[in-house]
Amino acid sequence: MSVSDIYREEIIDHAKNPRNRGKLADFDIEHKENNPVCGDTITFQMKFDKQKKVKAIAFEGNGCTVSQASTSMLFESVIGKTSEEINKLSSEDVLQLLGVESLTPSRMKCALLSLEALKKAIKQ
């Protein structure tokens, strides 16, 4: 796979204009996660509805295209999901969202930062 595959228009768009960016005033969970390799960070809040499904999610963060785009895409996709469903998400699901077959191990960490953050937040 060529690296340019990851830098497609859709990914760049998500990185430059992340969906659900911002802060929730009313939330059930808040969590901060960082990637020590590059210093990428995300902080996010989540609100569940009565059916215990994600009603709203918002994040702020700094980082590379891969981490920011994957956060934007993943968070967009978890709206309407329960904690159990989020827990079942795998790295393959994130790659699928990004539309790539694989990434180098170091870039994998960037891509999975948001999933790791979600799972840790739910556990707490």
Partner: protein, 407 residues
Amino acid sequence: MLNIDQVKLDFPILNQKMHNRPLVYLDNGATTQKPKKVIATITEFYEKYNANTHRGIYQLSEQATALYDGTREKVREFIGAEKIEEIIFTRGTTESINLVAYSWGRKNIQAGDEILLTEMEHHSNIVPWQLLAKEKGAVIKYIPVDKNGMLNLDNIDQYFTKKTRLLALIHVSNVLGVVNPIREIITKAHANGVMVLLDGAQSTPYMPINVKELDCDFFAFSGHKMLGPTGVGVLYVREAILETMPPFLSGGNMIREVTMSETKFEDLPLRFEAGTMPIAQVIGLGAAIDYLKLIGMENIWQHEQEIVNYALAKIRTISGVTVFGPDEKIERSGVVSFAIEGTHPHDVASILDEAGVAIRAGHHCAQPLLRALGTEATARASFYIYNDQKDVDQLVDAINQAIKILK
């Protein structure tokens, strides 16, 4: 003058393609590649001389010991120390600094004492002092850097108080290549009764070093950043200080006699080399020093000036690229830290990798410095003796490519 085409031939790893492009290795600040001579020396050691040192009463062990001790003499001469007793082999710069913090620091730093660092430090020259300060109730202070990445040394005396015990600072910045005015700083520190530890990880590979002329009390560096193998570094300590220092690691090799209740320690420098040392790596470092001397440290420093100025001139003219560090033409090591506006350095590094160019992206283990520069991460290209203008040109083409893809 360096014949770079000739030098390149000595480094087998450079003769390969990366993503179908000639490999351009520009992460020398992290670690350098190894010349054939170093690789062959290590192989030869394992094929002909391998035995444990200092204790074997047989020829192999005596040969291994002679090679090991012979390297200590090479190091002594290379950095201009007076005695071989002042040269301690460690695992690298990090361990060298930890040794000083643990041994000298624990004995000499008391509650309320001040340890002076700079904002330019690598984490390896911050964290050991933070741990020591926490344990002892000591205070850490920093000499600040300005936004160009130069130490603010106007009225340097202001940083020294009656409580200051140690100044630990970096000789050459691993992020910016800036060379600190060490002799002036050390003179001032000593005039204030403050000892000085110099982190030479980024100076020893590039310029002639003479610890006696520098007049530092401690000097630390790594083998792998100067063509040697990983796993070996050096700590120089002025003998008068070393004699007063309690052991760091303890166990075999560093003792004279052990009874059930107490131990008499070995003489210097073996007192500080506990357990079986990285013998092959030490000997490999000796081969690296031979190689560097053959090329000449003055020539290497000259080459660094030429290539860094060539690279700076080219990269600064690319629209949308910010280069960190001082704008003026100063002597500096071959390091260029840059960022492409609106992009993250990790994305830049990924695209450069596909163009065959290996650079580093991130905080370079110097987060306080990066924050002082107003950023969290940079892309860093660092050059060594096998890099030429063609390598810089390939880097510049790749940066232009990255701008095209990411903007």
